[in-house]
Subunit: 336 residues, 2 copies
Amino acid sequence: MPTIYDVAKKAGVSKSSVSRVINKRFEYMRDDTKKKILDAIEELNYTPNSLAQSLKTNRTKVIGIVLSDIANPLWAELLNGVQEECMRSGYGLMVSSSNEKPELERENIAILRNKKADGLIINNTGQNQDIYQDLVKEKYPFVFLDRTYQDVQADSVLVNNILGAKKVMKHLINQGHRRIAIVLYPTENKSPRIERLEGYKQALAENQLPFSQELVKICAPIRGSGIQAAQELLSLPEPPTAIFSTHAFLNLELLAAAKKSGWHIPKDVSIIGYDDFPWVPFLAPPLSTVSQPAHKMGVQAAALIINKIKRKREVKSKTILLEPTLIVRESCSPPQ
Amino acid sequence: MPTIYDVAKKAGVSKSSVSRVINKRFEYMRDDTKKKILDAIEELNYTPNSLAQSLKTNRTKVIGIVLSDIANPLWAELLNGVQEECMRSGYGLMVSSSNEKPELERENIAILRNKKADGLIINNTGQNQDIYQDLVKEKYPFVFLDRTYQDVQADSVLVNNILGAKKVMKHLINQGHRRIAIVLYPTENKSPRIERLEGYKQALAENQLPFSQELVKICAPIRGSGIQAAQELLSLPEPPTAIFSTHAFLNLELLAAAKKSGWHIPKDVSIIGYDDFPWVPFLAPPLSTVSQPAHKMGVQAAALIINKIKRKREVKSKTILLEPTLIVRESCSPPQ
DNA sequence: ATGAAAGCGCTAACAG
DNA sequence: CTGTTAGCGCTTTCAT
């Protein structure tokens, strides 16, 4: 690989001049030297060594993202948006996944920092407050994605989960449902989970419906827990007429439970889920869901962090709150 | 951030000794100096600057992956495997997606190379032979993932697509189907597409069934083309009794066509698809599909490239061929 | 068993 | 307008 020195030699100038060309500092440069250098670069097929540049300038033009669960197809869409925006701005993207494990999140953040990512997008596990605080303290640029963390003063790109839950509840209540259950994973400081539950509660209160603890099912974060939850709900003396699923995995487990137990959806019980995907219209039955703008979230998060990297000056921390959309299909009907 | 010099000063030794500790070259080091240095590192909370290390050693401990379409959920699973293996070996992972566009693939590979990724995993678009050749010529370590490229002598991690197609065909033929259609995207040098079609043809030949061009539907790589293909097939004077879909997106479009046109699957036509996901059992009807070991593919590809990076010596290029599995559900039945 | 010194490829004062 | 110089933080001979 040719170096800046080779170019300088071939063009008959100093390295400084070549460096000026690389960095487009043409202000005081004569056109003919510029041309000589450009020609030499062309001829040698030279590209600056970004490692050397980064060492010198302390900027890598790489951002890192820590996902909580890369297996969730929502993130695939989101990653697409992030990657798009990165390319647009000439940034590279390092990806990692914590699989909801706090230790892995720590490790991933450490790796990304060690590789000198200019900034981080963090879909936090909610279990590493000290690290998030450190980042703030050291003014390491980062944004929270999809999940915020209350005691940490940082930029975030979020979807309004209270609103999402309320849209769900409004739809069900309008259909005449009065006993509505919610299934969710343990909240564990994860803001979307907390807020969806909160939206559920608020909607009940606003409609003068009683809150009943037995209709709130916290599912262990393992496969199959949603099936059991559904079965328990439907075995209640006074079972719910509708179930609000707060997670894409749980959506499927509710369908599995119905299949297993022979319930008809929506005749026996209405189901409404979270997260929409291209295959959701073809499920049995086509599921009504809350759709989140994943791609847009990705673009915005990337744009935000890149912007933050560029102008390092203290800006008041900013939250971008996107709106979810309720998509009505055939999995809900008025209760019998 | 403390540098190696700070550690040396605090420990009262030279930078060389600190470097030896960082790189675990303890052979000739007295235990007490080792301890002094370790203590200083601890105390200062020092981590070596990986940019400086990389500049010196020409290794970044980063690998890059170029996906052809990050939106396909198959890659989410695969990425998970890649990322796992990367962490295990202490490698960072840079991700990009070409969205099947050759120019984007070029650009992504260029970016990854510029960032000095030690090796590349390429899910190629099949349209950039010159670049793949360059990589080989320059001995830049890379492996092809899921798609190989015939004229390029490189390592690959693949799934046996001929076998996949044959398993599909065997299942259908055993059920009594004689007119079986295949829908696919333009082959465009993409080995899985070529091979699935090839497997289809071979299976016909081996079972003394005629090959009929009208039963092969090449769909434009845009949304909705599969719907039209299905409608054309079913409007044939002698329509197929079964359709083999070779792509996860087309699976859904066939279901959409059925829904739109009121066909019952499998009564009116049997459908069998490619790629299995957690939601496939809940589709209407539960789709029989070919399942590919995506996670395993990711792990193997990462392991292969990391291995290749480590021992640079010329090794004969290696292909790992994994087996797909046919999962039978309810979307196929003997023809009427 | 340890240190001195050169240099990876680049940028950025500072001179001139 | 352009070149000289001094590093960025590390590794690696080569001495001792």
